[in-house]
């Protein structure tokens, strides 16, 4: 997998978070290669990529961070991981991925990219694994609301 594929997701994540939550502090961590299966933080949004590229993206965070981010995005304090938190975190992943696909479309001379509706998987001791490849590129975002790990596994469609 090419490292250039992950950058649009990272920049879209930073700009989307800052647009929804003005004043949010977001720092990009170091790129790493993760061997699947890897341990999830507990609240993972899965989005499939298809078209001229194929694969998936996973936005992983812990439950506390998910509730904090959703509370900020909704402008209200949400007490726990309810349906509104699930919907908000899924939509955050959808928007980041949609914006990133537009960047990739430009970057890759018009390659068309479709994305699936997001799925949110919540649970302790979950492992992230994949049938496409056993390697994910990972970039952590360190924020004042907690860490978000962006996992990207994309290749050109065969």
């Amino acid at each position: 997998m090419k490292a250039e594929y992950i950058n649009p997701f990272v920049t879209s994540a930073i700009s989307t978070l800052k647009q929804f939550i003005p004043g949010m502090e977001v720092n990009r961590g170091k790129l790493a290669v993760s061997s699947a299966p890897s341990q999830s933080l507990g609240t993972a949004t899965y989005i499939g990529i298809s078209g001229d590229l194929e694969g998936r993206v996973i936005y992983d965070m812990n439950r506390v961070t998910a509730v904090k981010i959703a509370s900020e995005m909704n402008g209200e304090k949400i007490p726990g991981l309810n349906e509104l938190v699930r919907s908000t975190i899924q939509e955050l992943g959808n928007i980041i991925t949609g914006n990133a696909s537009a960047k990739l479309h430009k970057q890759l001379d018009g390659k068309h990219i479709d994305i699936t509706p997001p799925s949110l998987i919540v649970g302790e001791d979950m492992e992230i694994s994949d049938s496409i490849s056993d390697k994910y590129l990972q970039v952590p975002l360190e924020t004042n609301l907690g860490n978000i790990i962006i996992n990207v596994n994309i290749k050109e469609s065969s």
């Binding site: 349906e83 919907s87 939509e91 959808n94 991925t97 994305i115 509706p117």
Partner: protein, 142 residues
């Protein structure tokens, strides 16, 4: 993007040809986005008469309420039936209905395809309140 009470009601779409508030529907699979769009549209003095969470529900919504609607906002990436397919089906039922696409899928070819299929305008998520208002003004009064 959250609408705050400070800026509510500073922007108003006014009335339709019947002298009534514009009537609309919101189609998006995200409850978070529906909540935000409904609140935003109501702050523009539009009346949201129905919502749907996928393309199939949107088509059913237009079959039932199409003749009452002045406009409809339509997401693209949705389960059951995506927004571009729903757009074609909706315009077969109500060819004059004004549809504003509201999607994170801002790829140039997707925007072009939407317009080719009959959408009046396209707003890319995440959006600013003024962006939605300005595009709606163009859609409704242009």
């Amino acid at each position: 993007m959250v609408v705050t009470t400070d800026d509510e009601h500073l922007l108003t779409l006014g009335n339709n040809e019947d002298g009534e508030p514009f009537k609309c529907a919101v189609v998006d699979d995200s409850a978070f986005m529906v909540k935000n769009l409904v609140r935003m549209l109501e702050s523009f003095d539009a009346e949201v008469i129905a919502t749907a969470e996928n393309g199939k529900e949107a088509v059913a919504l237009v079959e039932e309420h199409g003749d009452e609607l002045d406009f409809l906002t339509l997401d693209i990436t949705m389960p059951e039936m995506d927004g571009l397919t729903a757009l074609e089906e909706i315009l077969k039922i109500e060819p004059e209905l004004k549809v504003l696409m509201v999607s994170a899928m801002g790829q140039e070819d997707t925007v072009k395809e939407s317009v080719m299929k009959g959408a009046k305008h396209f707003v890319v998520k995440p959006f600013q309140r003024e962006d939605v208002f300005n595009r709606l003004e163009k859609v409704l009064k242009g």
